[in-house]
């Protein structure tokens, strides 16, 4: 009995340490963002801010010329790309779940392959194409690749969701006189909204934090998104970077963090569904 209690205690201690490892960096960045610049670089360091201040937050919006722009670009590009990805993924997922056609298996294999390949492989031809089509440094030049690279995964999640819906529902919709197109939009997609939300949040997180495309396909500060923008802020500020970096980092992780807190079950289910069933 005693041995069991000790064993249980050890399990909880280890799990608490692991949870500390995953949570602490976020808390530490949060605490740093409320300290005065002098306190941030004081030795020895302080844990809680002595005089909590919002000064740093004010500074990134007033003194950092481009920060609001990065924030807007991130929100705009990510939202548009996510919506397109989910819609196109839902159409393809529905076809793969419900119809039999010649190239079906080829598409599945192709999507799986594309999922595994690093973006770097597509990047060089993409850059050359966008250069020739004058798409470099435009929103469209980011939205098109973002939508495409997130498509395979979104399609797999939505395909898995459509497969769980009983066929009777479609059959009765067809008896009621709905064509394929109407059945999809009016009946199937609303039922599959859980899958759509799962696909949407993962796509959103992916695009929100994407760095490589934004580094290569944009050329001026007014087109950059947060991940690259913040690296540029760091390079500018040099030594005492973290008084402005900390609030910038907090703001840029906040949207996905809030999303996670509100929709955590979708996140966890999505992890399993996308990988096991895909």
């Amino acid at each position: 009995m005693k041995k069991q209690i000790i064993r249980k205690a050890v399990v909880y201690v280890v799990l608490t340490l692991v949870a500390g490892y995953t949570i602490f960096p976020i808390i530490w960045m949060g605490l740093t963002s409320f300290k005065t610049e002098r306190e941030i670089y004081r030795i020895p360091i302080t844990f809680f801010p002595h005089e909590p201040t919002l000064e740093n937050y004010k500074r990134i919006f007033t003194e950092m010329e481009y920060f609001p722009r990065y924030l807007f670009n991130s929100a705009f590009v990510t939202t548009i790309s996510t919506i397109i990805t989910v819609l196109v993924g839902a159409l393809a997922g529905y076809a793969l779940a419900r119809f039999d056609f010649k190239l079906k298996n080829s598409f599945m294999v192709l999507f799986l392959l594309l999922l595994a390949i690093p973006y770097g492989v597509y990047l060089i031809p993409l850059y050359i194409m966008e250069f020739k089509l004058n798409l470099l440094n435009t929103y469209l030049g980011l939205i098109i690749p973002y939508t495409a690279v997130n498509l395979p995964w979104a399609t797999f999640v939505l395909r898995a969701t459509f497969r769980t819906i009983p066929r009777d529902i479609e059959d009765s919709a067809k008896i009621d006189g709905c064509g394929y197109w109407k059945t999809f939009w009016r009946v199937m997609l609303p039922i599959a909204r859980q899958g759509a939300v799962t696909a949407a949040i993962f796509t959103f997180v992916n695009i929100w934090s994407e760095l490589l495309f934004v580094m290569s396909l944009t050329e001026t500060n007014d087109m950059r998104t947060l991940p690259y923008g913040i690296l540029l802020l760091r390079d500018e500020a040099q030594a005492f970077a973290y008084s402005t970096l900390a609030p910038a980092i907090v703001i840029s992780i906040l949207p996905t963090l809030v999303m996670f807190i509100l929709l955590q079950n979708y996140f966890i289910r999505g992890a399993v569904e996308g990988s096991l069933k895909g």
Binding site: L15, A92, K104, I117, Y119, V121, L151, L231, I268, V272
Partner: protein, 284 residues
Amino acid sequence: MRKRSVAYWFMLPAIILSVIVMLYPLVWSFYLSLTNYYFLDEESTQFIGLRNYFDLFQDPTFLLAFRNSMLFIALYVPSMVVLSTIVAVLLDSIVIGVKAYRTLIFVPVCIGLTMATLMWVWMFADDGIVEVIMTKLLHLPPIEWLATDTSTVVTAVIVTIWKFLGFNTVLVLAGLYAIPKDLKDAALIDGAGPWKRFTNVTLPLIKDSLALVIIMSTISSVKAFEQIWAVSRSGGTVDILYTLMYKTSFRYFEMGKGAAIAYIMAAMILVVSYINIRFVRTEV
């Protein structure tokens, strides 16, 4: 309307997007890797066969980046398999607080790697929180986290484990939940100890999940970019294959060579995925 043609209409937008952005570039970039394509002087492009690949494997810069990538995989993949299995088994063994712990461990999945790296760089800074904990609390010698190639890779591995531990734990946990309860009970009645129960009953049954963790972790290692890039100013001096591919293609515009590096990365992922799938399939 015939059912088959309907399917193609539904697939059409996805097909167009993937062909333009991925499939066509995939082929094009293989072709580029066989040329000396230099973006600023397209006219003088020549087909040079496999020369880029041969040259790369004699180039010390590439070999160092290749070594760093290999080191990353060698450190990251086994650590992830072991850690995610341990955390999943521990979560599986408790009743109270499972959901809370699972949530806390999963949080980093929603945070981008650039931000994650900047957060860890701040923790690892000189006189930063990690150094204080290590020297003042644990009385260990301070570590220069970002001094050499090896230590930078180690730091990047710590960041990457941080980001994906929750994800992989959930994968293993799904495997554990799928084990029939009578199998566990039978082993318990046979009087098998916890370690024996784990190696004889649990481990063979979660093999598929672990193979998935290995594949996913290999993909994450080869795709690691931000973790190295964001460590120091403007991409820094330590390279792995991905950062070297970026610098070669977009700083020096030697895109033929860059495409060859990208293809070497893709080959690494495909080989590991193939071996894993073969291995799991033949054993089941």
